[in-house]
């Protein structure tokens, strides 16, 4: 349930409303955002009140989308969001997020997901009225950059990238706008990726390893394909194969030697199970291993789930083709790719003999 309103809300009443009849709910997580007196990094100016403006229609659509995404992504039974608009004094409630699940971990994760996505997607704007009588629009979002890095589905989101003004030099007219993921705005402190990912011109292959799935059920592959497109890469080949070392090796060799791909991403077959053979197949056909790349994937993965230590994926080079093994789960594979995506163009340049 989502609601946008001027009036204050009672946390207790909302909690009752959100969880009514939910006898099976074991864990309820709750986030309340309030008007604070000063924003970190703004020099400590004292805020007297804020005015919240929004885009009626779009705001509700965005909130409904975040709600739907959270319900699909996490095993939660309740997602309840109330956001206020209008003039609010210091200390007043701004936003409430309630999530409920049978277990606390999912409730906490979903709650964080909703507030992080709300802050980056929902069309609200804050104006601060300072005690000295001046007013200003808020255009920094403390914590949003970290949030954008935490969630795979916020990385490379087109709308987090600003629409740049046209160049003042006629010969450069509109050039920058062609590169959707070429952020130049590290300086203004909002939500843009701190890593610039630009795969323009890269030829990419995507190989899913699974004994049980078919291409139509390949949700990890679908998610990765979307990310590749988002980075501006060209997905040339996509295939799904069983966990068979010979077939995997043959495919990697063909894509590297005949199709001259710059990058092959594999997903699946990296665990300790008896059929998991992707790292062995990769190493068998590659000349050089890049341990640091795989370690970075595990290091970032560990921030998410402890089982990230179990992935045996490698990153390695065959000729001028970089091969990176990603785990098989949708979440694991997309998060792993996000962890090293910014490094790919650099590696590709180097394996071709280019310098740093």
């Amino acid at each position: 349930m989502i609601r946008v309103q001027r009036e204050n809300f009672s946390v207790e009443d909302e909690l009752k409303q959100a969880t009514q009849g939910g006898a099976a709910l074991g864990g309820i997580a709750l986030f309340v955002g309030t008007v604070r007196e000063s924003t970190p990094g703004d020099g400590g100016d004292t805020v007297a009140a804020i005015e919240l403006e929004h885009y009626p229609g779009m705001t509700e659509r965005e909130l409904a989308q975040v709600e739907a995404d959270a319900l699909r992504r996490f095993p939660v039974d309740v997602v309840h969001v109330v956001h206020r608009i209008g003039r609010l004094e210091v200390g007043e409630n701004i936003v409430l997020v309630i999530t409920a699940s049978s277990h606390r971990a999912e409730a906490f994760e979903a709650c964080r997901y909703v507030i992080d996505h709300l802050k980056i997607r929902a069309t609200f704007w804050k104006k601060e009225f300072l005690v000295d009588g001046t007013e200003r629009w808020v255009d920094i979002c403390p914590g949003c950059e970290a949030a954008a890095c935490h969630w795979d589905d916020l990385k490379g989101l087109a709308h987090t990238h600003p629409v740049e003004p046209k160049s003042h030099h006629p010969q450069d007219h509109g050039k920058h706008l062609g590169h959707r993921h070429h952020g130049h705005h590290k300086d203004h402190g909002h939500i843009h990726n701190h890593k610039t990912v630009d795969w323009n011109g890269l030829r990419v292959g995507l190989l899913t390893l699974s004994d049980s799935r078919s291409l139509s059920q390949d949700t990890s592959g679908d998610a990765l394909a979307k990310m590749i497109a988002g980075f501006g890469g060209d997905l040339v080949n996509r295939e799904i194969l069983p966990d068979d070392q010979g077939q995997i090796e043959q495919c990697l060799v063909n894509w590297a030697d005949s199709d001259h791909l710059n990058l092959i991403l594999t997903t699946g077959g990296t665990g300790p199970g008896p059929r998991d053979i992707t790292p062995e197949a990769t190493k068998a056909v590659c000349d050089k291993v890049l341990p640091g790349v795989a370690e970075e994937i595990r290091r970032q993965g560990l921030k998410q789930v402890r089982s990230a230590v179990l992935t045996r994926g490698v990153a390695a080079v065959r000729g001028e083709t970089l091969v990176v093994n990603l785990p098989g789960s949708r979440r694991g594979s997309t998060f792993s790719l996000a962890a090293v995506a910014d490094l790919v163009p650099h590696i590709v340049r180097m394996v071709k003999g280019g310098g740093h």
Binding site: Y55, T123, D139, H159, P162, K166
Partner: protein, 83 residues
């Protein structure tokens, strides 16, 4: 005609929250629309020169390349800051 909506400081600098604009030839994407508006001079040039504007087409977050066509609702705004 398209409806163009402005929010937050973009609205303040333009001096109004919404207006209707006749689409001219060559204006068919978010990028070309923004350039067209900027070329109109004051107050658009100043209001839209910021480097971190966002645009929605028919209430969906858009890219510079997103198509713009007759009857669309286009919103131009600074980075959002709710929550």
């Amino acid at each position: 005609m398209i409806d163009v909506l402005y929010f937050a400081w973009v609205r303040e600098r333009i001096g109004q929250g919404a207006e209707q604009i006749e689409l001219v030839e060559g204006v068919n994407t978010v990028e070309t629309l923004l350039n067209y508006l900027r070329d109109k001079g004051a107050p658009y040039e100043e209001a839209l020169k910021g480097s971190h504007l966002q645009v929605a087409v028919n209430q969906v977050h858009a890219d510079p390349e997103t198509p713009v066509k007759d009857q669309d609702e286009i919103a131009i705004f600074p980075p959002v800051s709710g929550g």
